[in-house]
Amino acid sequence: MLIAKDLKKSFFHPSKCDILKGVSLTVNPGETVAIMGPSGVGKSTLLHILGTLDQPSGGSLKIAGRDALGDQGALLRNQHIGFVFQNYNLLDEYSVLENVLMPSRIGRLGGKEEEAKRLLLEVGLEDHLHHLAKQLSGGEKQRAAIARALCNNPDLILADEPSGNLDDTNSDRIHDILISKAKSLGKGLIIVTHNHALAKQCDFTYNLHGGVLELAESSHD
């Protein structure tokens, strides 16, 4: 589903810095992957490259069998990738339901309303459908963001420290939802996190260190 080979990323300002020196990663449907590492090591950069939000300096990336580094990034993001960000990134002026429906509207996919409501019911936001996103609490916002990420039925969910801004109770709930949804729906899940407990729940845990991804733990072992 996702095959990254030898991904490299360098920044040239203020001076040249190779943040990724050849990262390779494969994620199959239903697999959950945690990427850990100290702050500033390039975890989020890697995640954004894997999600086609950023371009690598070198290497190759295939998502759902298609080359993800060409000009089809937007289409891939819309149809095959769902994002969950640390700071939720909902559109504050829209209702929760509209936020969840936004990817399908962008992809001009009709008849998704029932699906969106079902997802919101599953994340426990059935009473907040028509509330503006800005009126929700942090935990609620992240649950709405997960519903949004799932609405277009993507193959891959990319989560960038999804519980970074949440208390333990909400964090656990978010982790449970993410892992269980990925497993039950057969989605690939890549989570960038500092949370070891969450990493333990994943099938694979990688450490990003010195611009290279190292497998730290595997449930298959």
Partner: protein
């Protein structure tokens, strides 16, 4: 943000409004000028060529007894009974150098003028022959010379001289009714004033005493006037009006000032509105009684002058009169009604010390009127000059600035060539009206008069003018735009009939006196549109600043949409459309406002005039009111230019939005 958007839409709407109103008004003015230009000079002229003047057909009149050995004008040729008036038994021999006679296929003589008119008729065009000449116009202006506060009607006279072109009055011109001015009230009053003044001696050099006409002539002049107008309001000519005594209601008190000298009231002055004066005046049993504030009481003799502080304006209806009984204006009676000091006064007064303030003038008739008005009139669509012993002239309206009024008389002076010298000839004329010559430099000097008069002057002073300039046929069109097409049809028809070498067909685009003006109109139009476009671009650049701010403000939202799969193209489209929508909205608002403004243009002009303290637009150039039609040219320009410029303005922020890096933005958030 929405406030800035609203301001941007407001600014563009304002510019759209301004450009539309400006272009519409200038376009309308240009059309009016063009209309005036072509109504006086017709959009198409057919003029004889040199070959026509050298032809046997033209020259033969000069050796024919039947033509009085005189060249004929086109008008005379058109109505002549004989195409070839030459009779070999009584006229001199035809000179050898003359060209051959022209004949039709059947051997009959070829008539160049009737042939031309035949072609015009076949094409169902309206046409009329015209002639232009030149002379010096000298007008004698008899004016009342009243002394302030007196009712005496002394008459003085002044003179006005102007070198002028004289053109035949072409009554068939369909636009003439819009050019001829309706008589003004001062014209009507002047006609009444002149009703008993004789034209005798008008062509003399030494000023004669003003003579009076016979009673019968006076009566017929008044009949001509009164049969073709309805007097609605009269006003006092000076502050003194003795007839006021008859109008004061019995028993009512009026505030007055009454100076008393040697125990006698010397005059009574009425304020127009109730105002504390020196006492009160009351009419009782037909007599006026004055009671001063000091308690003194006087009976006012009828000889005491009555004055008003202002000039009373009153509703007036002319009482029935017998024509034969009228020997002076004062023999007429009016039923009048007015307000003095807030109270109604009414009654019957003679025509003394009052003049016409408002009247309905009749100049359009279905059929020939029984009594002709003394001004130009219309029967159906055709215009006519009033008949009379003295030929009528219609002057360009700027003569009004020199205080020329209808009814003034004078003469045309021109040189008549004899075998040994040039002698001055004088033809008396009478001013019967004014017309609007438009903006042509030459227009202000053209006097319209009866064709016979023009031809008489031309015939006498023929050598002074280029024959091509002075005589021709004017063709009138409803649609100026079809002028070139009609010219082609005429050319083809003349060619077919073998007349093309005798006639030149020209459209108004080629008239010498109009060419420069038309070119100027065209470049003005381009210039104004260019200026409008530049102002529009400046206004629409607002959209760029607004949307660039919007892009900066909505960076996070743009990045979120991008993360959810919105393509760069669709993000760019959002901002481009924003620009387009703002432009379209502004166009609609501005166009609506422009239509509203044009609909009420007169009120706007009055307001501008009020602000400036004088007329904002000179009547001489722009007419009585500005054009109020939305110009198609301007509308199309605005409807296309504004949305396009706005759309282009929207492109700049749209490109900026696509250059954003969602990854960086989402991380920094």
């Amino acid at each position: 943000m929405s406030l800035i958007a609203l301001m941007s839409v407001g600014v563009i709407s304002l510019v759209v409004w301004l450009v539309l109103v400006f272009l519409s008004v200038t376009d309308g003015i240009e059309k009016n000028w063009l209309k005036k230009l072509t109504s006086l000079n017709a959009p198409i002229r057919i003029t004889p060529t040199e070959e026509y003047y050298h032809s046997y057909y033209y020259q033969v009149d000069s050796i024919s007894n039947a033509s009085d050995y005189r060249y004929k004008s086109i008008g005379e040729k058109a109505s002549a009974l004989l195409t070839d008036p030459y009779a070999s038994d009584e006229d001199q021999a035809v000179p050898r150098r003359w060209p051959e006679k022209l004949s039709n296929k059947d051997g009959s003589p070829k008539d160049l003028v009737k042939g031309a008119f035949g072609i015009i008729d076949n094409l169902q065009l309206t046409a009329q022959d015209y002639e232009v000449s030149g002379a010096v116009l000298k007008l004698r202006m008899v004016r009342p010379q009243g002394i302030l506060f007196s009712q005496s009607q002394e008459r003085g006279q002044g003179y006005l001289t102007q070198v002028s072109y004289i053109s035949s009055f072409t009554g068939k011109s369909p636009l003439l009714p819009t050019l001829i001015e309706t008589p003004r009230m001062e014209d009507l009053n002047h006609l009444f004033f002149l009703a008993d003044i004789s034209m005798n001696g008008v062509s003399e050099d030494t000023p004669e005493e003003v003579e009076q006409v016979s009673v019968a002539e006076f009566q017929s002049r008044l009949e001509s006037l009164l049969s073709n107008m309805e007097i609605q309001r009269m006003k006092m000519t000076s502050h003194r009006w003795q007839a006021l005594a008859a109008l004061l209601p019995e028993g009512e008190e009026f505030d007055v000032y009454a100076p008393i000298k040697n125990g006698m009231i010397s005059q009574i002055v009425f304020p127009m509105s109730p105002k504390e004066g020196s006492g009160k005046l009351k009419k009782s049993q037909g007599r006026l009684h004055y009671v001063g504030r000091d308690g003194s009481s006087h009976t006012v003799s009828f000889s005491v002058p009555l004055y008003l502080e202002g000039r009373l304006s009153m509703e007036a209806t002319l009482s029935h009169f017998e024509k034969k009984g009228v020997k002076a204006l004062s023999d007429f009676r009016f039923h009048v009604k007015a307000l003095l000091q807030g109270r109604e006064i009414l009654g019957q007064v003679p025509w003394e010390g009052i003049e016409v303030e408002q009247a309905k003038v009749i100049s359009h008739f279905e059929k020939t009127p029984q009594v002709m008005p003394p001004w130009p009139y219309f029967i159906g669509n055709e215009a006519y000059l009033p008949d009379g012993d003295t030929p009528a002239v219609v002057l360009p309206k700027h003569f009004q600035n020199s205080k020329v009024e209808m009814g003034d008389v004078g003469y045309f002076s021109y040189g008549a060539a004899t075998s040994s010298s040039v002698q001055e000839q004088r033809l008396p004329v009478r001013v019967v009206g004014f017309y609007d010559p438009g903006v042509m430099a030459i227009g202000a000097k053209i006097i319209l008069t009866q064709p016979e008069l023009v031809h008489a002057i031309n015939a006498a002073s023929q050598s002074l003018f280029d024959p091509n300039m002075v005589n021709g046929i004017q063709v009138y069109l409803d649609d100026l735009g079809s002028a070139k097409e009609v010219k082609e049809q005429l050319d083809a028809a003349f060619q077919k009939e073998g007349l093309s070498s005798y006639w030149n067909v020209t459209t108004f685009h080629e008239y010498d006196f109009a060419k420069d003006l038309l070119q100027q109109f065209q470049s003005d139009k381009y210039l104004f549109t260019l200026i409008g476009g530049i102002v529009l671009i400046v206004a629409c650049s607002n959209i760029i600043s607004l949307l660039v701010i919007l892009v900066n403000d909505k960076k996070r939202e743009i990045a979120i949409l991008s993360a959810m799969g919105a393509s760069k193209k669709s993000i760019a489209l959002i901002f481009t459309l924003c620009g387009g929508i703002m432009g379209t909205l502004s166009t609609l608002i501005g166009t609506g406002a422009a239509m509203l403004t044009l609909h009420n243009i007169d009120s706007v002009v009055s307001f501008l005039s009020f602000l400036q303290g004088h007329d904002a637009f000179n009547v001489v150039f722009y007419g009585k009111s500005l054009p109020n039609q939305l110009s198609n040219h301007a509308l199309i320009f605005i409807l296309i230019a504004t949305p396009i410029i706005s759309l282009l303005a929207g492109l700049v922020p749209a490109v900026k939005a696509t250059k954003l890096h969602p990854s960086q933005i989402l991380r920094s958030e």
